[in-house]
Symmetry: C2
Subunit: 133 residues, 2 copies
DNA sequence: ATATAACCAACCAATTTAGTAGGTTTTAAT
DNA sequence: ATTAAAACCTACTAAATTGGTTGGTTATAT
């Protein structure tokens, strides 16, 4: 398993926000109820999306979140890389991974690179708008 | 990360065996030394491959393992699914997963299905022979 | 008899995952 | 001015997974 609940929930929240855009701000309480996800857990996942301006949050009564762009302009891959850290299929391809001393001669390295390339390529080819049906 | 050391090591062992086939039986001690992997850990990973007759092991002095088919006849996907359990990109697509009560309406389900399909398709298109260079 | 190989079972430390608990701060409505 | 509701923040935790280790038993060639 490569994508944990963090990435999956984040994506579902984004789709939910997309489906309710134009209705002003959407409070997470509503999203949590609709998506059957713990509100407290969502609150832990969202900050990274708002810090990178994928969504904007307004505090206080009547506040909530909204998308900052049109759904067509969000690539699923971006949302997942942000919430999951990255989408490498193996540990030795992860960003801060300790350099493997056999990486020059590793017969499987190119397999993992190509797999990672294909995974990212596919997820970048899908947008939030595609997921709205 | 989707493929742990279990699958990665198993694959490297299989490539190693492929590169030394025709030289009789290869003891794991040699493979462990060449691949810089703990022998004891390898011994824990290999049984599933020999139980499914991907390799055959001979005990006793002068014993070791060998491939049971030609390298071209091993799909990388098969080796990984066997050692990793499965290659589902998300928990809700894993074999024994509790059925999600929102799966009919889940807007992201088809994304994960298609991603899983592409991952398995690619890994099944590569054989051990391809990894021998 | 001995060395060497696969095979087997129990344990273990560190990390990750999926949360929970309990707040503080900001803002609109009353 | 008070209150309700929202985002935002920090610390903790139980369970599972990962990546092994320890200590053997069994089988076989020399």
């Amino acid at each position: 398993m490569m994508v944990s609940t963090r990435g999956r929930y984040a994506l579902r929240v984004m789709v939910d926000l997309a489906q309710h855009q134009g209705q002003g701000l959407t409070p997470m309480k509503d999203v949590a109820k609709r998506q059957q996800i713990s509100l407290k857990y969502l609150e832990k996942i969202l900050p990274v999306l708002s810090k990178h301006h994928y969504i904007s949050g307004t505090q206080g009564k009547g506040g909530g979140y909204r998308l900052t762009r049109a759904p067509e302009e969000y690539q699923v891959g971006d949302i997942l890389r942000l919430t999951e850290g990255d989408l490498a299929p193996v540990a030795c391809l992860e960003p801060g991974a300790p350099p493997c001393d056999q990486r020059e001669s590793c017969p499987t390295r190119s397999l993992w690179c190509e797999l990672g390339r294909r995974i990212n390529e596919y997820l970048d080819s899908v947008t939030l708008a595609d997921l709205m049906k």
